[in-house]
């Protein structure tokens, strides 16, 4: 296994931030850690990056405890990020890559191609403070990957990125995956994870809720979900036979069907009492799966469609 966490636990001031977490991250995939704010994503990532030490448990990189030069093989984009405002783009790229053990001579020829790729070719000798916020984000991303790391860790990558830049960076991430790199990222926006990840891990309140290949997770939950739009009061629906959990919005409901449910009989039963405008049998979204598994208050998560990303 490329990267694995075994029974990792971390407490802050008596409050458990990460509890007995086990993760297996294979090489060459895009792995998403998802969960609401405060679930323990950043703490997990900081422990992976060896910025904070776990209270107990172990973290292995390529099957061994992390060596001192581990940090040189990782590119890390923290959620709280920034750059030296007074340095030029060239200076800061060279400095940060030097801190990753790269000689300036090796870094220098790669700077301009990367700046060109993210549309900053004309700014190489400008100071960071002269860039717009979006440009600084792209520069920051370049400094994260300039030293050609095997593992790229991105904490809340897309927060604060505009849609155009998001597209650009998503393309680079997919290229990195093609080049055999492993990308680990965290997000509280499920839709992003759904579109990018090969594997996911859901965490809530510091505990793993479920993990695995995205396809497997979906299959495990089957096509047993119904999206329903009606006119009228749908409250009676939750007591119909074959209906499991219900997420109810004003005119819109999502029903989890029990394994033995007869969807036709269900449709007839509903249609007798209210007008059915739409009845779709669909794969559950990660959002639904998460709500289902974590048994959390949906208000802690960004609702599907609430944010339009990638």
């Amino acid at each position: 296994m490329f990267l694995s966490l075994k029974n990792v636990r971390k407490e802050f001031d008596g409050k458990v931030a990460v509890d007995d977490l086990c993760l297996e991250i294979p090489r060459g995939i895009i792995y998403g850690i998802i969960g609401p704010n405060g679930a323990g994503k950043t703490t997990t990532i900081r422990m992976i990056m060896d910025i904070t030490a776990p209270d107990s448990g172990s973290i292995m990189f390529e099957g061994q405890p992390r060596r001192p030069d581990f940090k040189n093989h990782v590119g890390y984009l923290p959620e709280e990020r920034g750059l030296y405002k007074k340095m030029t783009l060239h200076e800061i790229i060279i400095y940060l890559s030097e801190l990753k053990g790269m000689s300036p001579a090796k870094t220098r020829p790669q700077i301009d191609p990367w700046l060109e790729r993210v549309g900053l070719a004309d700014y190489g000798q400008k100071k960071v403070e002269e860039l717009s916020k979006g440009m600084q984000q792209k520069l920051q991303f370049v400094t994260t990957i300039i030293h050609d790391p095997d593992l790229i860790v991105l904490d809340e990558l897309f927060s604060g990125l505009d849609p155009l830049n998001m597209e650009l960076i998503k393309d680079i991430i997919l290229d990195l995956k093609r080049a055999g790199k492993t990308v680990l990222f965290s997000t509280h926006v499920m839709e992003q994870a759904e579109k990018l990840c090969d594997n996911i891990c859901m965490i809530s309140n510091g505990k793993k809720v479920l993990d695995g290949r995205l396809a497997d997770v979906r299959a495990q939950f089957g096509k047993n979900s119904v999206q329903l739009e009606i006119d009228g009061d749908g409250h009676f629906i939750r007591s119909l036979p074959g209906v499991g959990d219900v997420s109810e919005f004003s005119n819109y409901l999502e029903l989890q069907l029990l394994d033995n449910a007869d969807s036709n009989a269900l449709l007839i039963a509903i249609a007798q009492k209210v007008t059915v405008r739409r009845f779709d049998i669909v794969e559950p979204s990660l959002y639904d799966i998460f709500i289902d598994m974590a048994k959390i208050d949906p208000s802690e998560l960004d609702k599907p469609g609430g944010e339009r990303h990638v």
């Binding site: 001031d13 890390y76 984009l77 750059l83 801190l99």
Partner: protein, 436 residues
């Protein structure tokens, strides 16, 4: 290790390339020359032109003439020309107060207009009543005042002896009763004037304090800047917090030493010209004393590391410079303390208070330096285990041990503090980080 050097290099260049660094290098010595060296040099300097003297003599006994004769023995430095130039000798009848007032006013005007440096007034019966002789001048050249006092005393003594019936040669009486000027020497038979020691002590302790305060605070500012710009977490994903802290402390320390090295080079240049500049041997013995210079270097390094580590600690705990001021204030006070209690130190540098204060780690660098200057040591005269050098070594050891402790403590707090945004940690929290 090599990553620490990368941080060190950046911090160093960041400072050395700045304009304020260059200005500091040039301005500080100029300032020091202006404030300290120049007055000392001027006081010891010999005037190249003489001073003009006039005399109003109303005694009718020729006191003025005799005085002029007496002061004519003073010559200009390296020349036969007299130091004092007689402008006017005005002899007036004892009863002629109209003329006296006229000349007195006219000479006063000349003094004000700086055409004249001194005029001596000799009123009638001057040989009987001392207050009938006085000197009018705007100068406070104590060398000249001293000479005048001595010569006029001689003239009057001679006159009084002549008038008395003492049967003894006047010269031998003057010789017997001549005034002695005490030459002050220290225990080693050398004389270093108090002012020179005091100024030197202020210079050495002042440089140590100034460097620690300015560069130590740079360390703090640099940490706060990295927290504020949120680059901190990016940095600690590449280097350990300890490497980062050490790189900063040593990088800015290297900048301090660059600055001092330039000053030392300037000083050496000055020193090579010491014969032409006429530097007094006293200054020579303190400022260019190898023992003092070596301890100065050691106390500067150790003091800087001690305080800059504390400043790094403060930087890691706060979010803004304003917040930091509350912590910086007590540290500054501790550094300035030696200058406040300084006067009691210099009066008796071997007092118990002085010795105790110079052993307290946060005061030792400045305090011990002041004592060292006041007890000017030479290598041959003191053992390494006793006397002032022994004490300096003990004090240095205490500082180094304290550094080991503060570096350990700071490293513990730093690695947690730098990732805390927005909220200032409470004391119980800090204690928990240290225990962890």
């Amino acid at each position: 290790m090599s990553k620490m050097l990368v941080v060190l290099k950046r911090e160093y260049l960041q400072v050395v390339k700045s304009k304020s660094f260059l200005i500091g290098i040039i301005l500080a010595p100029l300032f020091m020359v202006a404030v300290v060296i120049l007055p000392m040099w001027l006081a010891g300097a010999k005037s190249s032109t003489g001073e003009k003297v006039s005399i109003i003599d109303q005694s009718g006994a020729g006191i003025g003439r005799k005085f002029i004769e007496a002061i004519s023995e003073y010559k200009l430095e390296g020349s036969d020309k007299p130091y004092y130039i007689l402008k006017d000798l005005i002899e007036i009848e004892p009863g002629d107060d109209v003329s006296f007032n006229f000349f007195k006013d006219s000479l006063r005007t000349q003094i004000v207009d700086q055409q004249l440096k001194y005029f001596l007034v000799i009123r009638p019966e001057a040989h009987l009543l001392d207050s009938n002789i006085y000197l009018v001048t705007n100068s406070d050249n104590f060398v000249s005042l001293n000479r005048f006092e001595r010569k006029i005393s001689n003239v009057l003594s001679t006159m009084r002896l002549n008038a008395s019936d003492v049967n003894i040669s006047i010269d031998s009486v003057l010789n017997i009763t001549r005034r002695i000027d005490l030459v002050v020497q220290d225990a080693k038979g050398e004389a270093i004037p108090f002012q020179i020691k005091y100024f030197s002590a202020i210079i050495f302790a002042g440089i140590i304090m100034g460097m620690i305060l300015s560069y130590g605070q740079l360390v703090m500012r640099s940490v706060i800047e990295e927290k504020n710009s949120r680059i901190m977490e990016v940095l600690v994903s590449s280097v350990s917090p300890f490497q980062l802290m050490l790189g900063k402390v040593l990088g800015l320390g290297a900048a301090t030493f660059t600055q001092i090295a330039v000053w030392v080079a300037m000083g050496s240049l000055l020193y090579s010209q010491k014969t032409t500049l006429d530097i007094s041997p006293s200054i020579d013995r303190i400022l260019f004393n190898p023992v003092i210079v070596v301890f100065f270097g050691l106390f500067l390094i150790s003091g800087y590391i001690l305080f800059s580590t504390l400043f790094a600690l403060i930087g890691s705990m706060v979010n803004t410079e304003k917040e930091a001021q509350g912590y910086v204030m007590p540290i500054s006070l501790v550094l300035i303390a030696p200058f406040i209690v300084g006067i009691s130190i210099v009066q008796d540098p071997n007092s118990t208070l002085a010795i105790v204060l110079s052993m307290i780690p946060i005061m030792a660098p400045t305090m011990m330096m002041m004592r060292l200057v006041f007890i000017v040591p030479t290598l041959s005269e003191y053992s390494l285990t006793s006397g002032i050098i022994g004490e300096a070594i003990l004090s240095l050891t205490i500082v180094v041990v304290t550094i080991v402790f503060t570096v350990w403590l700071t490293a513990k707090i730093f690695r947690v503090g730098i990732l805390m945004y927005g909220k200032r940690p409470t004391l119980p929290e800090i204690i928990r980080w240290v225990k962890h």
